[in-house]
Symmetry: C2
Subunit: 221 residues, 2 copies
């Protein structure tokens, strides 16, 4: 009997632990991002999977751990993207601008991730705290920023008093707000921050802002 026949015999499904887990994570990511932690329904996640609720508890233990697993995978994706960052060959100004653009693009491309982070903040980052993986991730982007900043400061292009974590916060703020607060901002000010027609405008604005901050003359502290 062929493998295809096997599948047919069991309704098209074969046992595949990794695949089942991945599918649960996919659907769970969508559901948590859609409705928040408490708004998400375990039954709904199960229903949209080719498996059953039983499997969620079998593999993840419970709703809390499932959400933690979703977060771990989501953060893993951005970490990978950051690791592929290759800006060392650029001059400091171009490198920072490129970094800002990559951050901008990643936020725009992953609104579900942004929502998950918002949700996790509502819950005081307790799942990150409970995760062994997420605690000691470290950020590849941060290392990149440190190197660019050092180069820029040494060459005198950048003002000397800027910290890498602060700069990361500054860039993230803009990218995050634009996606996360899209709805309230749109409702209150009548402007869609994620309007494709405005994409280049805001992308440039972010770069201009960061570079202006880094190259501006400031009163010494």
């Amino acid at each position: 009997m062929t493998s295809v026949d096997e599948q047919a015999r069991h309704g098209g499904r074969i046992r595949d632990a990794a695949r089942t887990q991945a599918e649960i994570l996919d659907v769970a990511t969508q559901e948590f991002a859609r409705a928040g932690y408490d708004g998400a329904r375990v039954d709904e996640i199960a229903a949209r999977t080719r498996t059953t609720k039983r499997m969620i508890y079998y593999y993840f233990g419970g709703k809390e751990q499932l959400f933690t697993a979703v977060l771990e995978r989501a953060y893993g994706v951005i970490r990978e993207a950051e690791q592929q960052l290759d800006v060392e060959h650029l001059d400091p100004v171009a490198a920072i601008r490129r970094l800002a653009e990559v951050t901008f693009d990643h936020h725009e491309a992953h609104p579900d991730f942004i929502r998950l982070v918002s949700i996790e903040n509502i819950h005081g980052a307790e799942h990150i705290a409970a995760s062994e993986k997420l605690g000691k991730i470290g950020s590849p982007a941060l290392d990149v920023i440190r190197r660019i900043l050092a180069a820029g400061q040494e060459s005198g292009l950048f003002t000397a008093d800027v910290d890498a974590v602060d700069l990361h916060a500054m860039i993230s703020s803009f990218c995050f707000f634009r996606v996360a607060n899209r709805h309230t901002f749109g409702a209150l000010f009548g402007r869609d921050l994620v309007d494709p027609a405005q994409r280049e405008h805001y992308r440039t604005m972010l770069g201009d802002m960061v570079i202006a901050y880094l190259t501006a003359e400031r009163a010494a502290d």
Copy 2:
């Protein structure tokens, strides 16, 4: 019989519709901010009030409308703060910096409001859309920004191509992120963005950033 005796007779409580509604709104604000919309419990809100759940439905109609009422009041507070903004007598640079500082201070002073806005964004701003009040609020801050920008651009201090709504978004991004993402940022990067010892640092950083952006030379579009 004195008023005090009256109160004593009924367990210290007098009938006062306005007061009951205000108390429900106070507690509901805390509860929604604490746990999110779906995480919030109507029973919990009622329990922490001097009245009962029955009154929540009597005055507000339901959980959804209660949350909308909470949002309406929260936005009212920030609108009032913005209306008291008095920076017209300052030069454009000082005026923008003052505006940024006021925004910064307000975000820091009202973390519950920030959480409510995050929550409302998770739900696609549907309560704002459903609210008659919130639709046509308009932002006093936006008018102020428009005037300062016009003055700054006319005097040649500021670059000409900056829009008021965009600048508002820029300032809000930083202030919002610092409070809203405090927990995940702290857990991942080991830095508390709301640490009082760092307050002046970030407050200055925001002003520097905005002024640098507004006064920088840029390639024409």
